[in-house]
Structures are given as C-alpha cells and as structure tokens.
Symmetry: C2
Subunit: 443 residues, 2 copies
C-alpha cells in the first residue's frame, strides 16, 4: 500500500459532474488537486490515499467544472444600468461611447474589471474572455483576482486608417502580445477587432495576420443586428461571413461574437472553416438584436460558447442565469421544448466555451491532467429541493449565488462565499466613486 | 408637537419605490406599519415621531412592494426538475399526471406548498395565486407561512360530466368557498377550471356561475399551446376566447392564465370585457408553448400579472428572475428594445398582478391604508454595484436571493434571510422524503 501522498486540495463528498465524456454523475466523489492540476476525480472509495493541505467538504453539494464566460467587457461594470431599454445604436452612440470617451482610463478599467472579477467568482465563472480598452489593466485585475482570462486587445477605426494608423495598430498588437507571452495557463492574450462595420478591411487583415503569426485567437463582434448586415452588404456587396472569408479572417483560431443574423450559407462557412461562435442571449434579447440560430450552429458542429456580454447590456455576469435563459430561449425560438436540453446547455457553458476559446485541453471538464477549475454548488436550499437530476438543477434552478466555493487553477478563490483574493468592500467603493463622477456628468 | 405614536414596525432609511402614482424614488425614506397596514411612506425627515416595536434599517437597500406571483401550483415543488426538455402534452400526460395520480395526497400538498412558501418569502414574493388539488391544504401552508394567497379550488373533467358530477362539483366549490369565507386580507378563495379542453362547457358555466354568486374570481389556463386552440376550434367551431365569451365566462372577475395564442379579436374581447391575463413567460419558453402577446395586451389596457407557474415547469418561484426574463423576452419578440421597460415590468410584477387578482385596493403599492407587503433588497453586493436607476437594478440585475427582509401584512416573515414562520430544514427534509418515494417509482 503506497504512503498517503501530500496534495494541495481535496474536494470530498457530494455529487460530481465531470462532463468528461458522456454525462455521468459520481456520488460521494473525491477530486484531488495539486500544482494547479486535477490529479484524480472519482468515487471517494476509489480515490488514492492523500494528505491534503486544504479540504472542502462537498456533502450535499454538486461539484462541476467552472463556468467559461466567452464574451464580456468587464470594465463596463462601471456603467451597469446606466442606460437600458434603448436600441443598440442609440445605446451605443448616445450613452456608452460618450461615457467611455469621458471616463475610460487605466484606473477605471482596473476598478471595473476587479469588481467584475468578484462578481464572476461569486457566481461560478472561472474563465472569462474579455475585450476592452487598456486591456493590460484588465489582465492585471484578473491576475490579482486569480481568474483565468483570455484577454483581447481591442481595435476600432474611427476613420479610414492610413499607413501610419495601421503601423501604430501593429505596434499596439505586438506590444500587447509580447507583454503577455509566453503563454501562462492563467493569461491567454488575443486580438479583438470591434466589428466589420467599425474596422476597415485593412485593419481586420492586419490584425488577423498578426494573430496567426503569434498563434493567438482573433475575435470580433459579428452580425449582432440586422442593420449591421445591411451596412456590410452595401459597403462590400456581400454578407458579413462571406466578407470575412474573402479576407482570410475565418478559421480555427477565430471566434465571432453574437452571430445573430446568419443565413444557411454563412453557417456552413463557419462550420467548414472551424470558426467558433460566442453566444450572448441575454444581451441580444435586451438590445432586441435578435435570436442567434444556435441550435442550427450546433447541428453543424460549430464550437459554440456562452457569454454574458458586458454589464451595461445584460446587466450582470451571472452565467448560471445566462444558461437558464439560453435553454429557454432556444426552446421558444424553435418551438421545440427538447431543443437546448439541460446537458447541452451546461456543456456549452463549460467545455463548449473552452473549445471556442481554444482552451479545451486546459479547462472545461474535470479530468486528471486538466487545470483545476471547479465549483461547488450548495443544493441544501429551498429552491434546489428536491433533487432529481443535477443538470436540470444547474440550468433551470440555480443562480450564481448558489455557488459556495470557487477553485481556479487549484486555488480556492472563494470559500463559503468569502472571497480570498479581492477586498469586496473596497472594490465596490472604488466603482461607486467612478459612478458618482459619471452621474455628475448627467449621463 | 404630538407625542410619539407606538407602531408595530418602522423600515427606516434606504431608497423607497412606492409605485403609487408615477414612479418616484424617495431617498432616506421611512415606512411605518401598524395593525398590518401602512401608516406612512415618505422621506424620513417628514415622517411622524413613532416608537416602533421593531425596526429594520434599510440603509443601502431598496424598499419596494412585495412581488405578486399570479400563477403557480405550489405543491409541484415536490416534482421540481422531475422531467424537463419535453413537449407540454408529453410532459403532462407521461410525467406529471402519472406522478400526481400516484403521489398527490393532503400531506404531499401541504409539504410541497410549505417549501414553496419558503422559496417565495426568500425571493420577495408576498402574494401568490395558487391552484391545485386539495387546495385547502395549500391555504393552510400559506396561513402557517404568513404568505398572502388567492387560492383556487381546481376543477377538471376526466370524462363528460353528468348531472351527478356537476352536482358534486357545485358542492365542492361551495364547500371550499364557505370554508374560506368571509374574506380575510390573507386568504382570498377563488375557483379554477383547468382549461377549456379538459373541462366541459357545463362545468365552466357552473363554476363561473358559482364564482359570480359568491363574488370571487374565476380562473383558468387558456390558449397555452397552438394545439389547444385547434382542439377548441374543432370542438366548438370557434377560438377559445370567443368560446368563453359565448358562455359568459369573460369579465372583470375572470383571469386567464398563459394567453399565448390570441388573435387580435380575442385581445379586443379580453380588453372590452375587463378580463385579466396572467403571464408565465419562463414556463411558456421552457415548454416551447410560444410567446404571449403581452405588449399588445398592455396596449389595450388589459390587466396583466406575472406568474412563475409551478416548479415542475420553470423550475423555480423566483419572481425577480421572471421579471428579467419577461422584460428581455418581449424586447426580443417585438424587435423593440424599448418594449417592456424596467418600470413597466416592475409594475406588472406588483400592482399589475394585484389588479389581475382583484387585490389592487389591498396590495401592490406602498401607500398609507394598504396592507403592509414590502421587501427590502440589499444593494451592497458586487453584482448590484454601482446603482444608477433602481428599477433597472430590480429587473435586470437582482435575483431573489438579494431580498434581505420580507414583510407580509405588517409581519416580518424574513429578517436578514432568516425565516421566522417556517422551519426550513424540516420543510426541505419533508419534501425530500416525498421525492424519494417518487424516485422509487422510476418516475
């Protein structure tokens, strides 16, 4: 009999949903973690003998992979609820862009992002994909919070870019990538063009080329509104996805956010090219942009992830609620109650998102060798009683506040709802101070 | 200067949303309560001098009217998550009806209802409208929990009713009504026919007649699925609402639940007759029944309330989440982001629901003379920071678990998330015991 092995963390008891392979639940489970990685995930009676430095008792709880939020703009927590119930273009041009022009700076970015990190940890998100201005300040907040991040340096053209502007964009991209390279498991840099209607073709081609050369992901908002499709058609004589294809933008390291207005040919192009889609149902509903054809994308084998979008258009970062909405929305949209069942939904919010971000070998399931991103959901609550099927509870009954413990890269960043990496009171005060300035503005 | 008046309860500080008249927020507010009623609701500096028996400090919180859940089947908490991702008729006939046939009894009803009461109090619902078998046991749970209830004795025909069945229905209706008459502010009996496709015309006419004679509400599921409309058309040669009109079922004391498949004429009929509609967006989405034309009903002046439906088809009783979904769904359904704005949504979930249930003089707003049903929502949380506009936060960012205190009929039934009227552990254990029996059944 081997001597008990010392390990960093043991999550002991409870029901485990690994999502590795076909969905099976393991009752009275044990997950062992060391060096940031999962060592074992199995029934407790089959677990090796260990001496854990820290133990989490998960009796009465569900243990599942941490949630992957594939699209957000974390600093926009500073603008949460600033303007609602408006069309996208009015919301963007009359409210968000002016507020950003006036209030965005490195301090606002860091503070907003850190509060967003707190909200994500509290609601079970362990990996996020963010894009905003001064993205390195968002990365700093992620590192301080201990949240895994895919960070997209943002690009937008306010006027048609000349050679000088393109050179300065290339320099910015390279500076950002070199700052966060070589890759660490916690930070994956990427490049994010705002959209095909706010970026010139030369900008898209340049940024995609640098992404390919550096081996990082290229991301972009795409076909969020019908209006956008009309703009692209009148400007380039074709629909957005085929415009991207012509310019070499599609491919396995490209993830397109929203994908609301796609026709059949465009969906085929995404599938054939291995391009991923990030779906933000609540944001699309709130801005009345439309309903993305996600079940049709899944049927074609497109990698689909789920995202909350920024807090100014949702207005929260709660992936548990986003799952609930996504599952129900696609049943309604397809008139098929069997569409987007609970298990499919949970996979999209975990391994599906990891796949869309190119992190499928790192996270998204609980299996030996993967980084240890997992959450413990406390089921001993009235709204989660009784329990018949775990996936159903996670998708249709849980909300973020049911997450009791959050583990990222083997580190317990929240235990029993207490955050270990963030001073929540200070994080809230810091954002309130920014909001006071925004309010004084009359915005 | 008058001597300070002794009162039962003072809610002091915080931001008050009375919803009485145009939406205004009162900062640093005070709400005084005695004898179950609201005495004053105003700025603290304008409040009379009082000596409260109990005080709730609402600094940093929002104080608003308790939420009104206009449609649920509380005992179905026992079947929460038992069957999902199925078509309504399959879900109903292959899962719910068989589970009910085997497991429904007074004990199951009481236990399921009591757990539902706990969940409602924990998520800010102060009035519910329920219908199920053995409805008096649900009323007993409501009385024990201190939750205000409109309780509908249910009627359904398993075969065409003869004179004997009709007489027995009349006797059941009269027995139920006489048991809960005269009206108390806490319990309002009503009569609930399951649907026009499961009840014979004679049953509807009989039950409606008894409701009218007794001065209580008549309620029924209506036009939940397209299939149902087809059944009624083929059976009676007309659409459901005009079928009801011909039979004298419409009117101010009638509330119809779901109302998904209505044409323009039917909406006009509802408006002209003063018939109310209870909207259950999450249940309708989850069962893929369709999207009720709620904005069109509101435009016609129809009284619309919001409901969660039972826990077997949602799968929770959280009215905060139901508001969020409703607001976003109707923006998506109408392609209009200004549709179903936050304030409209909140009114539907409070005074709108009260109006649909005929309780608008009793509850739904915070104003002197009304019964004291109010909730205190704690905003000092990451996902509710910063605050620009209270209605926006309630609808788009809050979830039930943000409710800190719940007051019903002047009684603090939850203080700082601790329930005072229900032993939550026991309530959960009691329902788990029933669920074990259901599981043994293989259902």
């Amino acid at each position: 009999m081997p001597a008990p092995q010392p390990i960093d963390l043991l999550v002991s008891g409870g029901t485990l949903l690994t999502l590795a392979g076909p969905a099976v639940t393991i009752d009275d489970a044990a997950v062992g973690v060391s060096g940031g990685k999962i060592l074992f995930a199995c029934a407790r009676r089959e677990a090796p003998a260990v001496i854990p430095r820290e133990t989490l008792d998960a009796a009465g709880c569900l243990v599942l992979p941490g949630l992957v939020n594939t699209h957000t703009h974390l600093p926009m927590t500073c603008f949460r609820g600033l303007a609602d119930d408006l069309p996208l273009m009015e919301w963007l041009h009359d409210h968000m862009f002016p507020a950003e022009a006036k209030h965005v700076n490195r301090e606002m970015i860091y503070r907003g992002a850190l509060l967003g990190m707190a909200e994500m940890i509290l609601s079970g998100t362990t990996t996020c994909c963010d894009s905003y201005f001064y993205e390195s300040s968002v990365v700093q907040a992620a590192l301080d919070a201990g949240v895994r991040i895919v960070a997209g340096q943002g690009f937008i053209d306010l006027s048609p870019p000349g050679a000088a502007e393109l050179a300065s964009k290339a320099a910015a991209a390279e500076k950002f990538l070199s700052r966060w390279m070589p890759l660490s498991p916690m930070v994956t840099p990427s490049l994010f063009c705002h959209s095909p209607y706010t970026c010139a073709t030369e900008t898209l081609r340049l940024v995609k080329r640098i992404a390919v050369e550096s081996g990082v992901s290229f991301m972009m908002h795409l076909s969020e509104t019908r209006e956008e499709v009309d703009i692209i058609r009148s400007r380039y004589g074709t629909r957005p996805v085929s415009y991207l294809e012509r310019n070499g933008i599609l491919g396995e390291r490209t993830a397109l956010v929203h994908c609301v207005w796609l026709d059949e040919d465009e969906m085929d192009l995404l599938a054939a090219s291995g391009t991923a889609a990030c779906h933000c149902p609540e944001s699309n509903m709130k801005l009345a942009s439309g309903i993305a054809p996600v079940t049709a994308l899944l049927a074609r084998g497109v990698a689909v992830g789920l995202g909350t979008d920024g807090c100014a258009s949702n207005n929260d970062l709660d992936m548990m609620l986003e799952m609930d909405t996504m599952a129900k929305l696609h049943k309604a949209a397809t008139s098929n109650p069997a569409a987007m069942d609970a298990e499919t939904t949970l996979r999209i919010a975990t391994i599906g998102g990891a796949r869309a971000l190119g992190l499928q070998d790192l996270v998204g399931t609980i299996e030996p060798g993967k980084r240890a991103d997992l959450i413990v959901v406390d089921l001993r609550r009235p709204h989660l009683t009784p329990l018949y099927r775990p996936c159903s509870h996670i998708v249709y009954a849980c909300r973020g506040s049911d997450v009791r413990d959050t583990i990222i890269d083997g580190k317990v960043v929240m235990r029993n709802r207490e955050l270990r990496t963030i001073d929540v009171q200070k994080a809230m005060d810091d954002v309130r101070e920014i909001a006071e300035r925004v309010k004084k503005d009359g915005r």
